[in-house]
C-alpha cells in the first residue's frame, strides 16, 4: 500500500497528492496522484498505459474497461486512490509475450472491430463475461435463475451490453465471444 493512504487509515485525510501502488499488467508501479484522479487518467496519463480508452468518461460506453482484482470494471468512475494496492489487467496485459489471449485471437478471427477504439474494453469485458458464466452468474435474459449458464447469442448480447461500439461491429463481436466461450 502506498504511503499516503497508510496515513489515511490511521485517521488522517489525504489532500491532493497521494502516493499509491498498483500492479498493472504484471508490473508493480508506484505513482503520486491527485486525490481527484480517476483510475483511467492514472493509467493513461501517468503510467502511459493507453489500452483502456476514454470514450464517455461517465460510465456509459465501456471503452475504459479493465480487469480489476480479477473482475471487469470501468476505470472512468473509479478514483485511483480508492484502489491503492489493486491489481489491474488491461487488454495489453492479457497477451503473454508473443501469444495473444484466446479472446483476442477470436476478435481477430471474426473481425470483432473496425476502428478498434472500443476493442480493448470489449476484450476485457468478454474475458469477464466468460469468467462470470463459468461461475454460474445469471443475467437479465436467463430464463431459470437457478440453472447452469449457457452462453447463447441472447446471453452474450445482454452480458456485453455495457460495451458500445460506434462502428457497429456487433456481429463480429458476438461471433468472437461465442467462439471464445466454446474454446
Amino acid at each position: 500500500m502506498g504511503e499516503g493512504v497508510r496515513r489515511a487509515a490511521s485517521g488522517y485525510g489525504v489532500r491532493m497528492d497521494t502516493t499509491i501502488e498498483l500492479t498493472v499488467d504484471g508490473h508493480r508501479r508506484q505513482l503520486t496522484v491527485d486525490t481527484r484522479t480517476t483510475l483511467l487518467d492514472a493509467l493513461r496519463e501517468r503510467l502511459a498505459v493507453t489500452s483502456p480508452k476514454k470514450g464517455c468518461d461517465h460510465g456509459q460506453c465501456g471503452s475504459c474497461t479493465v480487469l480489476l482484482d480479477g473482475r471487469r470494471h470501468l476505470t472512468c468512475l473509479a478514483l485511483a486512490v480508492a484502489f491503492d494496492g489493486s491489481e489491474v489487467v488491461t487488454a495489453e496485459g492479457l497477451a503473454a509475450d508473443d501469444a495473444l489471449h484466446h479472446v483476442q485471437e477470436a476478435f481477430l478471427e471474426h473481425d470483432g472491430y473496425q476502428c478498434g477504439y472500443c476493442t480493448p474494453g470489449q476484450v476485457c469485458s468478454a474475458v469477464g463475461v466468460l469468467d462470470e458464466a463459468k461461475q454460474g452468474h445469471p443475467s437479465h435474459v436467463t430464463e431459470d435463475l437457478e440453472a447452469d449458464v449457457e452462453l447463447t447469442d441472447d446471453e452474450i448480447r445482454e452480458r456485453m451490453s455495457g460495451n458500445l461500439c460506434r462502428c457497429g461491429a456487433y456481429p463480429g463481436i458476438l461471433a468472437a465471444v461465442k467462439e471464445a466461450a466454446g474454446a
Partner: protein
Amino acid sequence: MRELDYVRASDVEEAVALVSGDPDARYLGGGTNLVDHLKLGIARPARLVDVGRLGLDGVEEQDGPDGRVLHVGANVRNSDLAAHPVVRSAFPVLSRALLSGASGQLRHQASTGGNLLQRTRCVYFQDVTTPCNKREPGSGCSAVGGYGRQDAVLGASEHCVATHPSDMAVAMAALDAVVVVRGRQGERRVPVRELHRLPGDRPDLDTTLEHGDLVTGVELPFTDAARCSTYLKVRDRASYAFALVSVAAALELDGDVVRDVRIAWGGVAHKPWRATAAEEALTGRAVDEDAVRAAVDAELAAARTTDQTAYKLPMLRGATTRTLLRLAGKDPS
C-alpha cells in the same frame, strides 16, 4: 472539481464520526454515482470517507426481531447479490431487478448501500447550468414545462417531478426490506419504504436519513410470497437503460385466491412506489386480467400525468397485468 480530501475509514464508528461531524464530507461507496457527480459539479464535497473496505460484505441468514431474515451487508456488490444462491431462490425479484440495472461492469462496482442512495437521473438535475430545486433549493424546477418523459406520475409536487432511478430499491420495497443504519445515536432500522421520501417542498432531501447516517446493511424477511416473485422493467432499449416504468411483484396464492400480494412500481415517483391500494383490491380475489386491471386503476386514481407522461399509465397496467398473471401461472400470450 474542488480540492478533495480522501480518507479510508478503519471502522464504522470512525466513518460515522468523520462524516456526521463535517457537513462537507460524504461517504464513498463504489463511486459509480458519486464520482460522476464530482465530475459534473453536482456534488462538491471537501472530503470523501471511503467505506468500501469496511467489511460489511457478508450475506447471511439471521433471526431478526420479526422472524428469519437474509442480512445483506452494505458493501455487497450488486453482481454478487444478484448471483447469491439464496437470493436467486428465495428472493428472485431482487436478482431480477439487480440484473436489469446498469451493466456487468457497473454491477461489480455498485454497492448495496450506494445503490439505495443513488440520485435521480433527471436531465436537469445533472446539468448544473439549469435551475433545479433538488440541486439548488429555491432555484426552480426546469422539468416542469420542460423535457419530461421520465417524470413522476404519482406523489410529485410543483417543486420537483423527478423519479428515483434504482431498480434494486423497487424490489426491496416489494420485499418489505429493512435498512440498517448507523448514526451518531447508534444503530436503528428503517423500513426501506420509509427510507426514500416524496419531494413536497424539500426536493433536496431524497431520503429520511440525516447527514452522517451510514447504511450498514439491509434485511430481507423470508416470506412465501418472496419466493414467488419477479421484476419486469420497461425501457427504451433492451439493456443498459433506466426504467420508463418497472414492476416488482410477489404473490402467494391460496388455491386460486390471493392470500398475499406485494406490488411496487419504479419510474413513477420520487421513491419506489408501493401500490397498496392495488394490493388491497386483489387480496382475496382470483388473479385474472380484469381483476389486475381494476386493482391497478384503483392505485392510479391518484395519478397526475402530462402529455409527456400519459404513456406511463397504460404501460403500468400492461406490465403489472403481465407480471401477476405470470406469477399466478397463467402466462399471458
